[in-house]
């Protein structure tokens, strides 16, 4: 089994996994390593990080010095290919013309999906995050508690490799001994942020990111992850040995050819394929889930994008991990006499409670960082520190005008010069000629950016549905989005700005961003942070949720959703680690159900 042509698909699989990112990768990994026969369908092309990653290219080798364009929104060297907020031939619709009520839908049509370019920030949800309604009366509780997911967080961290440490802070779980790799030391700007934050009571501690600061322990970890499964242990041991430790160069956003950070294509898929249990078909755009006479899922219909032909695949179980909105779209497009409102939608909740992360930021210029002796601070290709939310008690006591928290991502340093950062320095520099060059050297590396990433509470005005008219190039009906932030989010964004300006001032710096007391003017559009979750929420009551705590559809027992769609809340913690932990748990449940012949 391997990467195969659509014509080589076998008659029947145990599980069909739709999508190859964090959710699909983890689902397929767990199933294949434990012996299930899996077919993975990916809508994008095959992608080979070892061959395609621009590791040491400088921006002078790129068109437009690497500047972001509508074709490559995060800059030329961003790992995403065939992706973005706008894709030719793949439209979506906004129900409102108001720019503040538009939702931006990011797609990454490539093997591994958005795991190839993500920020690698890997934070655990805390105990409050699963029971937020109980705590403050807003939103919805999850049907599981932190303790239910904690063992899976442990396993995922050991498998993918995450750096970080332990601080015992409120609702910011510590990992057990042996799960995390040592964090890198802070850069100069990060140290100053730590000192400035301390003056305001804002903790700045090592962030958790999926980057190998040393090689993973191939003797210890396999037995912990696959007890009693010698073959899986051998495969994983070999695979861990094939992943190099970070060599402290090149941005993680480019991807990593030495497999030192997590992307599904370098971490989940290779060992899963080595088992011989995983077939992967790329350029396979799934349109709908098919049903048998009993109302169980029988497989999927997909478009082979290379030929345009419509094809089917059959399995005992169908697991959707196409990304929250794409999985919703597949469900809503799977209409039948039995499910006229779309599959698995007897609750009417499919598409509802769509959430993104609240984003707002402030940039500063720090005189103390001017004219520093040149030094290499590429580091781990992303942030080394962050601030977890620190005002839980104040919030609970009603001292803040918004209900949920945010964390702060801190970006500073002497990053590789590109079109963006050089223009910014130039704008601040005076004169021309030698004086100008001197000014450029003075300001280079003296900037810092604080990016707030906060929790959005699900609301009735933010959801997606099938547009009655728009279709993609394959004739598949497209999504229409409805979006509205509540005051909880916009006030939080205003609080972010005020806080960040305060930290910059405490660092003796100059605030470079206009601060607006109306958060509605500074909050990023829905979908901009690319943390969309929800749309097929899990619950304990079939009337009010789409899936149970294992991502299993209430209506169709052999249909699972293992991406971000089952999220009931969107804590400030970046969703990827939680998607993987939930997917592992769901896959364990599938394996047991198959073993017990329930499925």
């Amino acid at each position: 089994m391997a990467l195969i042509e659509p014509t080589a698909i076998q008659d029947h699989y145990d599980v069909i996994v739709v999508g190859s990112g964090a959710g699909g990768g983890q689902t397929a990994y767990t199933l294949a390593m434990e012996g299930a026969r899996v077919l993975m369908l990916e809508a994008g092309r095959n992608y080979v990080p070892e061959r395609e990653t621009p590791m040491f290219q400088t921006y002078s080798q790129a068109p437009l010095r690497g500047a972001s364009t509508p074709d490559k929104e995060f800059g030329f060297y961003d790992a995403t290919v065939d992706g973005g907020w706008q894709m030719p031939g793949e439209p979506y619709v906004s129900a409102s013309d108001d720019p503040k009520r538009k939702f931006w839908w990011w797609r990454a049509r490539m093997l591994g999906g958005r795991t190839n370019h993500w920020g690698r920030i890997s934070l655990r949800n805390g105990p409050y995050d699963f029971k937020a309604h109980t705590r403050d009366g807003l939103g919805i509780d999850w049907p599981i508690a932190y303790e239910d997911l904690a063992p899976y967080y442990d396993k995922v961290e050991m498998l993918i490799g995450v750096y970080g440490d332990r601080h015992g802070l409120e609702n910011t779980p510590d990992s057990p001994e042996g799960c995390l790799l040592p964090p890198p030391k802070p850069r100069a700007g990060e140290l100053l942020a730590q000192r400035g934050g301390a003056q305001l009571g804002v903790p700045v501690i090592p962030i958790h990111r999926a980057v190998l600061t040393r090689q993973l322990d191939s003797k210890r970890i396999p037995a912990l992850l696959h007890p009693g499964n010698t073959r899986a242990q051998q495969i994983l041991a070999e695979h861990l040995g094939g992943r190099a430790a970070c060599f402290w160069a090149t941005d993680c956003g480019r991807g990593c050819s030495i497999r030192a950070n997590y992307q599904s294509t370098t971490v989940h898929l290779p060992p899963a394929m080595a088992t011989g249990n995983l077939d992967i078909v790329t350029n396979a755009m799934v349109r709908e889930v098919t049903l048998d006479k009993r109302g169980r899922a029988s497989g999927v219909i997909f478009i082979d994008k290379t030929s345009g032909a419509e094809r089917t695949a059959r399995g005992r179980i169908v697991a959707l991990a196409a990304s929250a909105c794409e999985s919703v779209r597949i469900l809503l497009n799977s209409r039948s006499a039995q499910f006229p409102q779309g599959l698995a939608n007897s609750s009417g909740k499919v598409g509802k409670y769509l959430m993104d992360t609240v984003g707002a930021g402030v940039s500063g210029q720090i005189p103390l960082l001017e004219n520093l002796p040149p030094h290499n601070d590429d580091g781990a290709g992303g942030g080394h520190v962050y601030s977890p939310w620190w005002l839980y008690k104040e919030q609970l006591a009603g001292k803040l005008d918004f209900a949920r928290g945010y964390h702060i991502e801190i970006y500073s340093g002497r990053e590789m010069p590109n079109a963006g950062n050089v223009s910014s320095i130039a704008r601040l520099s005076q004169g021309y000629g030698s004086k100008f060059k001197q000014e450029m050297r003075r300001y280079y590396g003296s900037f810092i950016h604080f990016a707030g990433r906060g929790e959005m509470i699900p609301n009735d005005n933010s959801y997606c549905e099938i547009d009655p008219v728009a279709k993609d190039r394959w004739g598949i009906p497209a999504l229409r989005f409805h979006w509205k932030w509540s005051d909880h989010e916009t006030r939080q964004a205003a609080h972010m700005q005020k806080t960040f300006a305060g930290i910059i001032e405490a660092m003796g710096g100059n605030v470079m961003t206009r601060i607006d007391s109306d958060g509605a003017n500074v909050i990023a559009p829905g979908g901009y942070i690319i943390h969309e979750v929800g749309g097929a929420i899990m619950g304990s009551d079939p009337k009010h949720s789409v899936v149970n705590q294992y991502g299993q559809s209430w209506d169709v027992k052999n249909l699972f959703i293992t991406d971000g769609a089952p999220f009931v809340s969107n804590a400030d913690k970046n969703p990827t680690l939680t998607i993987m932990a939930l997917a592992w748990r769901a896959a364990d449940y599938m394996l047991e159900s198959m073993k017990r012949k329930e499925l």
Binding site: R45, T53, P54, Q57, T58, Y59, A62, P63, L64, R65, A67, S68, P70, K72, E73, F74, G75, V81, G84, Q86, W104, R120, K185, A188, L191, A249, G253, G359, G361, S363, Q365, L368, L372, P373, P374, H375, N376, D378, G381, G382, G383, Y411, G413, E415, M416, V422, S423, G431, Y432, G433, F436, K437, M440, R441, G445, H449, D516, V522, A524, I529
Partner: protein, 206 residues
């Protein structure tokens, strides 16, 4: 500074070495998605040269003026040559010729500005900009960079600033330019040990 480009936009968002946030408006993205640029799946590991992907704009006369002007912006210093030796004119031409919005307002600004430079130079110095004396060229640049710029020179002043910033982008992103700026990364290391002692001392964190 992790904020990209000149586009006027109210919100400035996350960006980092790892993930540089684009400053595009929704309308930009929607309007340009089907542009004739390098597309959604360009090869990332090959060397691109200006002119490879879309035709260039500048005439020989404009290139000549641009070459002289960019060397005034980034002159030779020690053993580091001036900007024109680094293909900066080619880069600026690529930038203003692109099918993306870099080819929009910047295209008019740069083309008209270079034309103005020669016209003005001919009427005032009796020769095109490249043929004027070093003193004449410097005095003109001094006037254009003045803040506030003299009445009547607002447009040429804005051109010079934009040209200067593009020259900086062209130069400081090359291997020698990066080193000149103080960038020391992009080399594999066995370990990352944090900032060196002299840096820690300078920021008072030793």
């Amino acid at each position: 500074m992790p904020v990209d480009r000149r586009t006027t936009i109210k919100w400035m968002l996350a960006a980092s070495a790892a993930l540089q946030a684009p400053s595009l408006s929704f309308a930009d993205v929607a309007a340009k998605a089907a542009s004739a640029g390098y597309g959604k799946d360009p090869r990332l590991t090959v060397d691109y040269k200006p002119g490879d992907l879309w035709p260039l704009t500048l005439s020989a006369a404009q290139r000549k003026a641009a070459s002289v002007l960019c060397d005034l912006v980034i002159p030779a210093e020690g053993d580091v040559p001036a900007a024109s030796a680094f293909g900066v004119v080619d880069f600026i031409d690529e930038w203003i010729s692109s099918p993306y919005d870099t080819g929009g307002s910047d295209r008019a600004t740069i083309v008209e500005g270079l034309n103005w430079l020669d016209d003005f130079s001919r009427s005032k110095f009796g020769a095109e900009f490249a043929g004027a004396s070093a003193t004449q060229r410097t005095s003109l640049c001094d006037e254009l960079i003045a803040s506030p710029v003299k009445a009547g020179l607002e447009k040429p002043g804005a051109f010079f600033l934009r040209f200067r910033d593009l020259t900086a982008v062209g130069f400081f992103t090359t291997p020698i330019g990066m080193k000149d700026l103080g960038y020391r990364g992009n080399v594999p290391l066995a370990s990352y040990d944090g900032p060196p002692k002299e840096v820690l001392e300078k920021i008072g964190m030793a």
